[in-house]
Symmetry: C2
Subunit: 456 residues, 2 copies
């Protein structure tokens, strides 16, 4: 099976450009490389269309070849890494932008279309596709669907699921399933779209998505509040949430995350730099103005507030924000990020829990994320060559997940369970839910071929 | 089994007030009474809490007694009617408002809490629970969840599913399942919350819901545009959707629906009365003002526009709108409403399809609904005593569903499949999706006891 790239049946289906040896190290990991998650696929399939995906799944089902679907490879939990081998199925060639209907506020794209392409095409028609995961230039819609990806603007707009009206999915034993349709409202069937969205490739392979769009907001205000420490920052966050408006985004960086990324901060470093809160208001000119004023008042108390007034400045600020993950990783070379969400009243406690666990582990922690959704990316930093530190980070992550679950939080807010959090679902789900979860997996994938070891 | 209300085992569990003979005719139908959907349950169970529901399901599972869950009885597809008998399980006594956390933007309620109570309690804390199905004073959250209920404001805010972070559900063979939690973001498990939301009691019984809330908009503008006919009305709708704003609601009434309800129209009948478009803008004062101006411009062209300026006038207008369903039904005594949604570009064609089918059936049609979501409630009117007309309406509804499905539309936009549309899923779902749908039902309800005959 290590020579699966020379397999005759697969080659007959996929052709020379559709079946490759997995030599390129890019295929051996995703964005969790620095925490040591890796695996060498037996081969890489690059199907050209959904029919090839269906035929491919049919072959794998019959011959019991494990399948690891892969989008842009920007995942943060090892979901697209062939840890135990198997056939890596890269969806990049399914990149047709099937339809953009400005009047109907919708689009339909194949799984391999990049998230940034959808953003750009929608914008060109005055529309918005709100989901904005961090690596939009790299990530693909299929991966966004598979992980139900979020991002800063999920606070106002929800995660990827909220923007789907239907999917094309290949399921076992090799059939092309169409869920939902193009209508904006549909309760006819069980929520098959929702069943596959967020299932991380463990129930089937998403090959296309029907997307809801909305008119793009006419105006945006972007504000940054700097504070001496987390206490003042958390007060600003609470004030923003109590201001009576729904921010488009409400982000935070703790002192360590800010230190890692501050050098590149647009406009240079401010005086107070122990905690950063970013807030955005959007809507009509009037909405952005008034909601922005409410947020500005909330952010000004106890800190130093700056506004990013022009669209160019705002883009630069968000580009900087998008680089935080990489800047934090670069600080020690490696990191283990724990993506969690807590009920809003526990946000401060969740920050502190990370600090405490890090102190107990003897590791540095940097934390940032989507404060308005109670969504923290608390990251343990280490030198990847330091085996003891990597182990300490893994134990620290486990301890933190336990404390988050005890707060009634989610152990996977927007990145998924993947490989990194395998076996941890029981922290959050009760035994009845866990058993139902297993039942669903068994029912759709009785042979355990779809992304084995992930999610469950 | 006709004497199930005297059953010893059930009475030992539920007590005298929890197990009743189904004498009250209210228990024999829901809001589909005028189209003849009815059934006499073998008994009515009124459990006091989720533990009783779980024990009750355990008994029914063992003894193979069919279970028909029932909320407020305001359903429009016969979903809560015991058409083939069985035990009616009324959730009204599960009416505890467990928690309202204004700072955390969330609430948790039992299934029997009325929708209007959630609206009111949220408003008292400056918050909004957006789902607004028509009979909010009667309907209960459990029923809203079971049908994934929508309403006028789904256009901006989405249907019930978008406002759930988790559910308590009793599943077979009698276990209490908890899905999701209280965090606003959670992708840890498969979307179990979404699986039960919209499943119409065919997979389990929802006993509680954890709700997301948001700050209530500070201001609202409500506009009504009157047109001579559907062509001008559809142009106004298209103009509103192309105006660059997201209306909070965008509703329509055709000439017949308007004629049925016009007598009570707040402020009296206007000059042009062949088609009505209602539009609402909400947000900060600035947003309502500017989005409202864009909508006013869209509605003014080709018609006569009125504004409902004060909160009292706006409430009165929406109260009038809430009465349209009853006014249309009163016109002939009976109606069969076809709740469908089409991609927006087919909205005019869907209106015309209803007219054509009604003409072919020799029946009067009235149509109204949520234009911005492409969601039509096209209703065939008849005298319930006229058996031929009832039959013609049923055949007409079937013909219309076929034409809607052929447009890529949904045969059930927000009311569900229930009993009224049983067996019609194949119009919309392809064979692969239909088989997966059946597989899910079989997996969770192998004995076919949960709301038999509905949804599938």
């Amino acid at each position: 099976l290590a020579a699966l790239h020379r397999d005759r049946e697969l080659r007959a289906l996929l052709g020379d450009e559709g079946l490759l040896e997995a030599r390129d190290p890019e295929w051996h990991h995703d964005a969790t490389e620095s925490q040591g998650i890796a695996g060498t696929p037996w081969a890489v399939a690059r199907p050209a269309d959904a029919e090839q995906v269906a035929a491919l799944v049919g072959i794998c089902w019959r011959r019991e070849i494990p399948i690891v679907p892969r989008g842009g490879g920007s995942g943060l939990v090892g979901g697209a890494v062939a840890v135990g081998g198997g056939l890596l199925v890269e969806l990049a060639r399914l990149d047709r932008f099937r339809e953009l209907d400005p009047g109907g506020w919708r689009a339909e794209v194949e799984a391999g279309v990049r998230t940034a392409t959808v953003h750009r095409r929608a914008r060109e028609s005055g529309l918005l596709f709100p989901p904005d995961p961090g690596a939009a230039e790299q990530s693909q819609i299929g991966g966004n669907v598979a992980t139900n990806a979020g991002g800063p603007h999920s606070l106002k707009y929800g995660t990827t699921r909220a923007w789907l009206t239907g999917l094309d999915v290949v399921i076992g034993p090799g059939e092309l399933l169409s869920t939902g349709g193009r209508a904006r409202k549909d309760v006819a069937s069980y929520d098959l779209t929702g069943l596959f969205c967020g299932s991380e490739g463990t129930l089937g392979i998403v090959t296309a998505a029907r997307l809801r769009l909305i008119p793009a907001p006419a105006a945006t205000r972007v504000l940054a509040g700097f504070y001496y420490g987390a206490a003042a920052g958390c007060e600003a966050i609470a004030a923003a949430l109590a201001s009576g408006v729904v921010p488009a985004a409400l982000e935070y960086l703790d002192g360590a995350a800010l230190a890692a990324a501050l050098g590149a901060f647009p406009g240079g470093a401010p005086a107070q730099r122990g905690f950063l809160v970013l807030a955005e208001a959007d809507g009509s000119e009037g909405e952005a103005e008034q909601a922005g004023a409410a947020l500005a008042e909330a952010l000004t108390a106890g800190g130093e507030m700056r506004e990013f007034a022009t669209p160019a400045e705002q883009r630069e600020l968000w580009r900087w924000r998008g680089g935080v993950n990489g800047a934090v990783r670069a600080r020690r070379g490696g990191k283990l990020s724990v993506d969690v969400a807590v009920p809003l009243e526990h946000f401060g406690a969740a920050l502190e829990a990370g600090e405490q666990v890090a102190a107990e582990s003897g590791l540095e922690l940097a934390s940032w994320g989507h404060a308005g959704d109670g969504n923290l990316h608390s990251s343990f930093l280490f030198d990847p060559a330091d085996v003891a530190a990597v182990g300490a980070a893994e134990r620290g992550a486990d301890a933190l997940l336990e404390r988050i679950a005890a707060m009634g939080g989610s152990i996977a807010a927007e990145h998924g369970i993947g490989w990194a959090k395998r076996g941890r679902l029981g922290l959050q789900l009760d035994p009845v839910a866990l058993e139902l979860h297993r039942t669903i997996k068994r029912t759709l994938d009785p042979k355990g071929l779809f992304n084995p070891g992930k999610k469950v």
